[in-house]
Symmetry: C2
Subunit: 339 residues, 2 copies
Amino acid sequence: MSSNVTLKQIAKELGLSAMTVSRAINNKDNVDEKTRERVLAKAKSMGYTPNHLAKSLVSQKTYTIGVVIPEISHSFFPEVVRGIEEVTYEKNYQLILTHSAEKFEREQSAIETLRSKRVDGIMISCSQTTRNNSFYKNLTNIGVPIVFFDRCIDGIGLSCITVNDKTGAKQITQHLINHGYKKIAHLRGPQGVSIGKKRFEGFKEALSEAHLELDEKLVADTGFQEEGGYEAMKKILELPKEEWPDAVMAVNDPAAFGAIEAIKEAGLSIPDDIAIVGFSDDIRAELLPVPLTTVQQPAYEVGKKAAQKLIRLVEDDEEKHENIEVLTELMIRSSCGCK
Amino acid sequence: MSSNVTLKQIAKELGLSAMTVSRAINNKDNVDEKTRERVLAKAKSMGYTPNHLAKSLVSQKTYTIGVVIPEISHSFFPEVVRGIEEVTYEKNYQLILTHSAEKFEREQSAIETLRSKRVDGIMISCSQTTRNNSFYKNLTNIGVPIVFFDRCIDGIGLSCITVNDKTGAKQITQHLINHGYKKIAHLRGPQGVSIGKKRFEGFKEALSEAHLELDEKLVADTGFQEEGGYEAMKKILELPKEEWPDAVMAVNDPAAFGAIEAIKEAGLSIPDDIAIVGFSDDIRAELLPVPLTTVQQPAYEVGKKAAQKLIRLVEDDEEKHENIEVLTELMIRSSCGCK
DNA sequence: TTGTACGCGTTATCAA
DNA sequence: TTGATAACGCGTACAA
């Protein structure tokens, strides 16, 4: 248990003051070259490691950024984290990763803890159960910059880095419409979460621009997981047969996977009986028996852009908040009946 | 930029000493109930957040654990992180996540930084380029507990939590042997990395116990990625046709994926011409046109066990280092010719 | 029940 | 070029 070596200990060994040792180690120029060499040698032999806690206490800067993620094993987020890490590594910031497990309470407590650790900035992707309440409004003035990514809270003046959910959803819906589908169902994500809401908006806009009516019965609520998609699709298939949709647009790929199960169980085939499309280009989408048409989200880009924005906010007081959209790409495969 | 509120500031507002405020906020019993209420109300209205940096400086404890990961977007590691997070959340520790990007130098600097941040413990999974040199030997006596997971450095007395790589590799090789394959190739992982070495050992042991000879030409080196597998397989297929293997055991699934590409390109079919098996049960393995027989690694369990071990080392001086193996499971699918 | 002094490891500032 | 002092925010130990 070799306890940690301090500047003072090195100073004592060398008959110097802690201050001189500090200067030598931090490469200040007002140190005699011989002194510096002695200090560095001693520091090395004693196994000195600077104490960032003490440094940060003085400098009011931790070079640490907190990240709040709703679901680590969701394939999207590790990619985002890789993008974030790419930027923070280069800029010499460390990352404290917290996981809300889709629970608003854990999200709040994570943010509190990050503040206590005096991180220089916080990046948040909201949980499914997050609501835009006073908690977030109070967060706009706490001094530490906050940036949302992927799942955001709108209208409180904080930066938000997303994919273009609305446009992407609109495009893929239009793709279905252009191929002649008329009765299109939507497996709708949580409307309290921005991506759920925006994708639904894109869906509606595509329908209305094509003068197709929105059939409320063909809109079923789901979470972001397979089970939800499965249940939602089953509910739709409980309608009289003549009301069944000829195509389904799911809020994301996992929901689509669940729906595909339900469609298969009902003895229907994809895309002949019912076409289906997703959103997110999950790693599995391409590998399904009938590969899933979906919208690719550049997760890595989202992470990078979000981290860059946050660091700019951290390092430059003049920097202003803004919303940034990263462009999605339509991935056309067989499940929509195209190939 | 409302700078952070301190105990002293609250004290001043209330005409108390900082000490009393501290006691009130930390629920010590020797505070007048009325005083406590006044303090808590004031703290809330002023937006007080305790400064963990200062606390840690005094207590010499950060309730933070550092994690060094070689590749975040490799599907195995996010699962491990989820397991780690599960444990640390419950025990009230925070996680600093660092990413070595498979580079030993980044791994070293990450560890240095974590030490500077005075984390209570460090969890490491080595990069592909890591070598067991003096750097790691020096790490055994630095005071902060270290635990390896998945990719370890042996023989320096630190804990290591892995899946049973050797036995798993042996079992899946035996599975091939039992089905009559005689010329089995191995796409071998980096031998400086424990999993690469152990899986190769398991492979060899299965062969020798079955009295099959190891054909050096059928052992091709690969990294842990698809490209490496692709190249390695191509190299094997450059041998005269009569020397081709009838089965291939890859160090992991991504390498197998790459090899499958090479096999297809050569116009061969799986498993009829060449059977192939992997290791790790990547999320994609099951979804291939010919689902891949592989070894499932309980990544989540590895993370949990590793975190539990580390926290025990952190909290109990008596706790000793040990190696823990989490059991793998053979996932039999079609690529080995069984189904 | 409340307050004062001191130390955690470091750096900024001013003096020598 | 070097050193002494104070301060960062908090908690322990002791005194009032």
